[in-house]
Symmetry: C2
Subunit: 432 residues, 2 copies
């Protein structure tokens, strides 16, 4: 286990809270620092391609807004967030079938803060949180920081597996464990790239109703689909059981850090109090910029243009994988979002392989980061959101060469090579 | 006790974490909603007067910055915060005698988030946190949300009283209580307006060294003094024991929500991990705006101009109080910052009086909000930061009339009038 901050060099080690004991930097972080060098093709990060935005136009919009509305834009605001922005957010969610009132929304510092606040108000140490296997690394980090006990439920190409959810809940019920909520990214999942089918959505909601479990629906990628209309949100069919998290990080710009939670009134009230205690209020500077953008700019067209951009990159990745990856590798085929989930042939270990991949100038996120239970060694997440198609092709070419080498090593020395250690990884946010 | 969110109408009441039980809205909130009506002179909020900024110039600066650097400004950044901004922050802190390295800083969503993260990494439920009596309401709310046991230490016109600190620490030591840190606003304190003298600074640091207690120095107002050079920060004389919190909310603009913590490396590392789990990263949009402002704009001159502005308002308040308040009232005389702390004659209750003050179109914050122990009924905080001097005079005139009425009632009916309830108030952020 990484001991960096528990070692004798930390003079404060005896002062920390119990929850801070789990806050340790992963060894993967050091890798990522290397991965950000320009000669490395990074298929690791989840950075949206914000350069595609009309920066001149947005600059003019923001500049004019500060000059005209600076006295409000540069002032504190309420912890719940700007009322007009919350109205705009209702319009955005309506695209996914959600009928909501602006008063049910709390604006947050990205959906990450919404996750933090929800965990804060619901989770006591030792409470069970259900999460897909694999699941978003940032959520797992937050759950760990509140000392939740994460129980994974498998997914397949159609998303979270209902039978597995039912069995898990039944088992936990028998064990009298307290399940606080199911955390799911149903659409264009991070990291797996899969989407929960319409039929399964109904089934998942039914199961959660049976076992009286709340659902946290995290949906940052829902509007970034490559074909057909957007999926109907889980929240659209259950306003009492589902707390919905949204974000403008991928549809407008991640640097604005504007996300939100949509929750039943009583829960929303708690979230506002928790937000106040955490940050007083989110930046009105950011909130006014988003609200103005949604009011005056062709945001629906911009999202279409992002869809096209990411579709081309997804195509580049899938074509490159099909053309170049050695036999025995499998991967998902996302219909939207940012990520492909790749499974290596048996006997290979994506985490152990990572330093060699970086030496060959390509980076990815080893699967272990997306599990709380130390599994995931055969998997990796590949992002196609940020590099240009030609770079994606080059990255996959380098990766394929590394995997081939690994297969040769395996065939020469057998599968007995030491796997990487079994600890839990928190590779940090999707910013590398 | 307020039961708003514990009542039967909250269907989620059985699901919340233990820490959320303490998150209840205060009845004072409802008052504040009324206090924001234009006919009410609000001496309640702590909003800086951002209209004094050159909004056209800042608008041009920001607009040009987005057009030129939007690809970075609108992107995720590291949880520690922008490196160039952290360099600028070192220059700002140097004014108060602090020698710091940019790597010891973590940028936060206002100093409030720094408070939240520090409490998160240090405080287990039941741990003792020492705080001045009275203390910043937002800090008390954060401590409560982590189930800290706040123990107050009195202050007087020279700030925190060293003998009282020593006695409290000695008592807690005898009781074998775990004291995690002393939280203090040494300069132009919120809410009392007093400043810790130079002699006492040394003494407080010595006492904390003796009892091996960390010090959280919260210093949002330090550069807003009305006479003489800035006070030397506690952190300037003890880099190992003092964690320093800074903010641009009062020296630039609160709506940018840019604050920071300066902490020893090991603690800083934990804070970054906690920040990542809480929000991934702060807005680069905000951070670039602050960094550009500090690089290209005459920020030192702007601070001087703020000092002048607030000094005139402080003068208006002190002159109005001296001219108008009935005998028996006393108040502090701040040399900087935003607040005057007023003590009512014996037998009066600032909290019980608040609705009558608002009916007379003047608002303040009752003292009870600044204590964790249900005391403070005879006190109130008066802010002079936001209203123009003439409005301040009018507000004090209305307040004096209400206090006179209360004194008459007291003299007629005796001091036996029912005091307001003894519960803890969390009147919310300084934004009303």
């Amino acid at each position: 286990l990484p001991v960096e901050y528990r070692s004798r060099t930390d003079a404060y080690v005896d002062r920390y809270a119990a929850r801070a004991q789990g806050m340790v930097a992963s060894e993967i972080r050091a890798l990522f620092a290397v991965a950000s060098r320009p000669e490395v093709v990074s298929l690791a990060g989840g950075m949206p391609y914000v350069s595609a935005l009309p920066l001149d136009i947005i600059g003019d919009m923001v500049g004019e807004l500060v000059a005209r509305r600076g006295a409000d834009m540069l002032q504190y605001t309420s912890a719940q967030g700007d009322p007009m922005l919350r109205e705009r957010i209702c319009e955005v969610m309506a695209i996914e079938g959600i009928q909501a009132d602006a008063d049910e929304i709390v604006v947050t510092v990205g959906a990450q803060q919404a996750l933090d606040l929800i965990t804060r108000i619901f989770v006591d140490p030792g409470d069970v949180v259900l999460a897909e296997a694999p699941s978003y690394v940032g959520a797992l980090g937050t759950f760990a920081s509140y000392q939740a006990d994460v129980v994974h439920v498998p997914l397949d190409d159609d998303g979270l597996v209902p039978e597995a959810l039912r069995e898990t809940l039944e088992r936990l019920h028998r064990e009298r464990r307290r399940v606080k909520f199911l955390y799911t990214v149903p659409t264009f999942q991070n990291p797996a790239g899969v989407t929960l089918t319409t039929a399964r959505r109904r089934e998942i909601l039914d199961i959660c109703a049976t076992y009286d479990v709340l659902v946290i629906e995290d949906n940052p990628y829902g509007l970034l689909g490559f074909e057909g209309p957007p999926m109907r949100a889980l929240r659209a069919d259950d306003a009492d059981r589902v707390i919905y998290l949204g974000s403008f990080s991928k549809t407008i710009a991640s640097g604005l850090r504007v996300g939100w939670a949509l929750a039943p009134h009583a829960v929303r009230a708690k979230l506002v109090l928790a937000a106040e205690s955490a940050i007083l209020s989110h930046s009105n500077f950011c909130q006014f910029a988003v609200r103005e953008y949604l009011t005056t700019q062709p945001w629906r067209e911009q999202i279409k243009s992002f869809q096209e951009l990411y579709r081309r990159r997804r195509d580049a990745m899938l074509e490159s994988l099909a053309a170049l990856m050695p036999e025995g590798c499998t991967w998902t085929r996302p219909d939207g979002g940012f990520f492909v989930w790749l499974t290596l042939p048996e006997g290979l270990d994506a985490k152990a392989m990572a330093p060699r991949a970086i030496a060959n100038r390509v980076a990815y996120v080893p699967g272990t980061g997306f599990y709380s239970d130390g599994t995931g060694h055969r998997h990796m997440r590949l992002s196609y959101c940020y590099p240009e198609p030609a770079r994606i092709h080059e990255g996959v070419r380098r990766l394929a060469a590394v995997v081939e080498q690994e297969i040769e090593l395996r065939d020469t020395f057998g599968t007995g090579r030491a796997p990487s250690h079994g600890g839990v990884d928190t590779p940090g946010p999707d910013v590398s």
